[in-house]
Amino acid sequence: MGDIMVLDDVLDAGIMIKRILERKGHQVTVFTDELEALEHVRTHPVEVAILDIRLKKMSGVDMLEELKKASPLTQVIMLTGYPTLETARQSKELGAFDYCIKPIDKEELEEKVAGALAAGKVAAQ
């Protein structure tokens, strides 16, 4: 199944996502720190990354840009509790797979991740 990374400045939020996705057989690594997450991606290009928009040190949009530089084929799902047209537009421009809103329900999350994994496989071909 998929190799997935979650970055959220709130640990509990990341763990909830991990629990849901692990039940679907995915392998999920959770980070609360941007730099550690970037380091992980550089050595370990995950298939899907789920990013919060409000992080501790940088914005989720900047993180998206850095992450795409480090691993262009990683499909990124932005997941935010503070949606704005501006961040939605920037995310799209920077190649995010989708822009989702918290609270997200289990089914929607599973669907988005399945979609992102499929898109990643197509992109790799």
Partner: protein, 838 residues
């Protein structure tokens, strides 16, 4: 839409209507998705209000942000569908959005100085100093009572701390998850919140102020260690927060800053969060100030209650002075039983009676006795009367006496009423004549009231999470931690403990019956046994006592919380539906007065756009036409791509055999199944709509009130309007199982609410049996089955058709649970072939 997009749109319309149709179809799919999400979020918010849910305001704000985004996305999808027609819609949305903050506004986090105050200054600054420090400051300013010298770190220092460490949104995200019935999770969430606070950095401005105050104190000869006490806004006000926050005793100077953070972190213990939620207060409404006092080497300490309904000497109201050896903590945390002195309410107070404690209050370890000097008790009672005069309310005050014999007043707060008065006592004395056996008699009323529940024996605090709903908690003592599960409790009985404990104060506020000092209750009451606790009269009866319970119910009515008031104000902008008649000239964006109106408007117009795809010049590929049928249904169908046979292209109406859409064929097979007996003579359309707008005058075949289906070869969007309810079915049955889904939504009905709920329950039972995931909220049902082969979905569409036909008028005739399960059993037996492979 910018000019370029508009140009593209027109070009497409002129040159490539087929491509435009596909684009519209995509926009329409988007619109349906956002419509669904918006309605779900509105329902979530409505449910918080109607269920009286105890959640943090952060949850409401999070749902609201998601809703605003969904509605905005929905409007954008409508604009994509028809770029020119709805330009004032966005403006209306902006207007509604900007009128929201007034309805939901919480106090702004004020981060400006001052960050510290002297205690005397605190007496004039309730918001900055928080309840506890403000009261003490006021006593210092306005009376001659001996208050220890101290200072206050203000609530603004706390706000600055949160701001400085960017904690607000992170705390909110966690608070939004809090559910009081999930104890394990609450513990986890609270731990993360406290860790966030502990890891935070105290802003330099605040550090500087604290050091300055400590230096000032040193110059006055006051050195540590210190006592740091929480002093939250609202604390000791209407909501007492008694014992819910942390106080730290014995803090030496080097530990001062980490201890300050520790007290702030105490705002996020499970019990403090649970308590705040039950009071309906938002986190921002209760910023935490911290009261700093020099430690007093107390030999004896205790509390004074200025209004006791009776003493052992008789039923006259009096004052009570409670005393325990050492620090008062063991009294208020319920772990130690005190000696008690009852005094009259005159000047000077007169000693009426005394009750010995298990241990001498002045000589720890020496058993029994009444040790507090009568002069001390009289003096303390006099303080109580002075404070009553100052505040105009009965008081609950904490005091202590040091080695030099000096008395200090440490804290004062209003004493919650709730102590049964003597007359009340008389009245219920009669009850035992008709009541079942009294299992236990005696003890002290810590919080009056009557509750019936199942005995749950708690040996240690750590097991608190396991206490079930509806328990009468029986325990050796009365720790403040009980407050965390107060909602599940019907009563509390403790062997020891005291009515002067913090939990007793919280229980009185909450109206939970609590009986303390009941001796051997933990041995006399059997776990699992149903008992009725009449705490006001110190009796525990076997089983339910109906006459007492009635009395309990009368007392249950509680005032509306700030949370409920705010949520109601918010819902006025969200929930009410004013736009009802799509044909009315009033059906315009300007008349949208709630988000629900906007959603309704956009959905209706989105549907209309799809149905008018043909355009005024007759250009386009698709055209909605009526389905020919013997069934009493008015249904229009619109083909997007391969849903109807080519032969029917020219026909004005469509015969069912021309349907080539697989999902529509399957569903129609169900609706027209021979088992479904349609009541002839009743056209199945939207009666509510008909009642309201037509008074029966309009054509019964009007498209507006009809059911309709949007088709493609592998796709179906079906809106069924039956009688007073509607059902929406959206499904894709393609060759790719991963993309397939079947979503079904059902709402409303003509029966009364319980009948409607029974029908929803019935549909839920059948659909769950058929493998759907079903969620219900009130009379709204959502069922979903995704990522399945078409071969599995199609028979279930037929099943849904049959179910719809059979349950169409059922809500009016459903009278009981038994009928529901009978129907479900019969249905399962008869149609098993559609669910199980044959």
């Amino acid at each position: 839409m910018n000019l370029r997009q508009l140009f593209t749109y027109w070009t497409l319309q002129v040159f490539a209507p087929g491509k435009l149709l596909r684009l519209k179809y995509l926009a329409f799919k988007d619109l349906l998705r956002h419509d669904k999400k918006s309605l779900e979020l509105i329902t979530d918010l409505e449910e918080l209000l109607h269920r009286n849910a105890t959640v943090d305001w952060a949850r409401v704000e999070s749902l609201l942000r998601a809703l605003l985004w969904s509605v905005e996305s929905l409007l954008r999808a409508l604009t994509a569908l028809q770029p020119t027609a709805y330009q004032d819609l966005e403006e209306r949305f902006r207007q509604l959005e900007s009128s929201l903050p007034a309805a939901v506004s919480l106090p702004e986090m004020d981060c400006r100085p001052p960050y510290t105050l002297t205690l005397a200054e605190a007496g004039a600054a309730p918001v900055l100093a928080g309840g506890k420090a403000h009261t003490l400051g006021r006593i210092l300013r306005e009376t001659a009572l001996p208050v220890p010298p101290g200072f206050v770190i203000t609530s603004r220092a706390f706000s600055l701390f949160l701001e400085h460490n960017h904690l607000r949104h992170r705390l909110d995200e966690l608070l939004a998850q809090v559910q009081l019935d999930d104890w394990e999770r609450l513990i986890g969430l609270c731990k993360e919140m406290r860790d966030m606070v502990r890891e935070g950095e105290i802003p330099l401005e605040v550090q500087g102020e604290i050091h300055r105050r400590l230096d000032d104190s040193r110059r006055q000869g006051l050195t540590g260690p210190w006592v740091l006490r929480s002093s939250a806004c609202f604390e000791d006000g209407e909501a007492s927060f008694a014992g819910q926050y942390r106080s730290l005793l014995q803090v030496p100077d080097p530990q001062f800053l980490p201890s300050y953070k520790e007290v702030l972190a105490g705002k996020y213990t499970p019990r403090a969060v649970a308590y705040r939620l039950r009071c309906g207060l938002a986190d921002q409404e209760t910023p935490m100030a911290v009261l700093v006092l020099p430690i007093i080497d107390a030999v004896v300490s205790g509390v004074v209650y200025t209004r006791e309904p009776q003493s052992p000497a008789g039923p006259a109201p009096c004052l009570a002075v409670y005393a325990v050896p050492g620090l008062g903590a063991s009294l208020v945390d319920g772990s130690k039983a005190p000696e008690v002195h009852y005094l009259s309410r005159e000047r000077p107070p007169r000693l009426l009676a005394e009750i010995a404690g298990p241990e001498c209050a002045l000589r720890p370890g020496v058993p029994g006795g009444v040790c507090l000097a009568p002069a001390t008790a009289v003096s303390l009672a006099g303080w109580g009367l002075t404070l009553e005069e100052l505040t105009g309310r009965p008081q609950d005050l904490e005091w202590c006496q040091d080695r030099q014999g000096r008395l200090f007043l440490l804290q004062a707060r209003p004493l919650k009423p709730g102590t049964a008065d003597a007359q009340d006592l008389q009245e219920v004395k009669d009850v035992p004549e008709v009541a079942p056996p009294v299992l236990l008699q005696g003890g002290v009323t810590a919080s009056p009231g009557v509750g019936t529940g199942t005995v749950w024996l708690l040996r240690q605090e750590a097991d608190l999470g396991e206490v079930p709903e509806g328990a009468v908690l029986v325990a050796p003592t009365l720790p403040p931690a009980f407050a965390a599960v107060i909602q599940r409790l019907r009563g509390v009985v403790s062997d020891g403990g005291s009515r002067a404990s913090h939990f007793a104060a919280v229980a009185r506020e909450y109206g939970l019956p609590v009986l303390v000092g009941a001796g051997d209750a933990t041995r006399r009451l059997t776990p699992g046994q149903v008992v009725t606790v009449d705490a006001g009269h110190g009796r525990i009866y076997q089983g339910e006592v109906e006459s007492l319970k009635q009395k309990a119910r009368q007392e249950q009515a509680r005032p509306e919380t700030p949370f409920a008031t705010r949520l109601k104000a918010l819902m006025r902008f969200i929930s009410p539906l004013h736009l009802l008649d799509p044909a009315s000239p009033e059906f315009t964006p300007r008349n949208c007065r709630s988000l629900n109106d906007l959603v309704r408007f956009a959905h209706e117009k989105g549907m209309a756009e799809m149905f008018s795809l043909v355009g005024r010049q007759g250009r386009g590929l698709a055209k909605a036409r009526r389905l020919e049928t013997e069934l009493p249904l008015v249904m229009y169908v619109l083909d997007l791509d391969g849903g109807l046979d080519q032969q029917s292209r020219k026909a004005r109406t469509i015969a069912p055999q021309f349907i080539t859409s697989e999902p529509m064929r399957a569903c129609w097979a169900g609706l027209s199944h021979p088992d479904v007996v349609w009541r002839q003579g009743l056209l199945h359309l939207d009666w509510e709509e008909l009642d309201r707008i037509s008074a029966g005058l309009m054509s019964l075949k009007s498209a507006r009130l009809a059911s309709y289906a949007i088709l493609a070869q592998d796709y179906l969007h079906l809106v069924l309007r039956f009688g007073y309810h509607f059902a929406v079915l959206d499904t894709l049955c393609s060759d790719n199982p991963e993309a397939n889904y079947l979503a079904f939504r059902f709402k409303g009905g003509g029966g009364n609410f319980p009948q409607r709920l029974r029908r929803v329950q019935l549909i839920q039972m059948v659909l769950e049996w058929a493998g759907f995931t079903v969620k219900t909220r009130g009379d709204l049902l959502d069922a979903r089955l995704a990522r399945q082969a078409a071969g599995l979905l199609l028979p279930r569409l037929t099943l849904l058709g049959i179910l719809q036909g059979q349950t169409c008028l059922l809500d009016i005739s459903l009278t009981g649970e038994e009928q529901v399960s009978q129907f479900v059993r019969d249905f399962q037996e008869r149609y098993a072939g559609y669910v199980e492979p044959q």
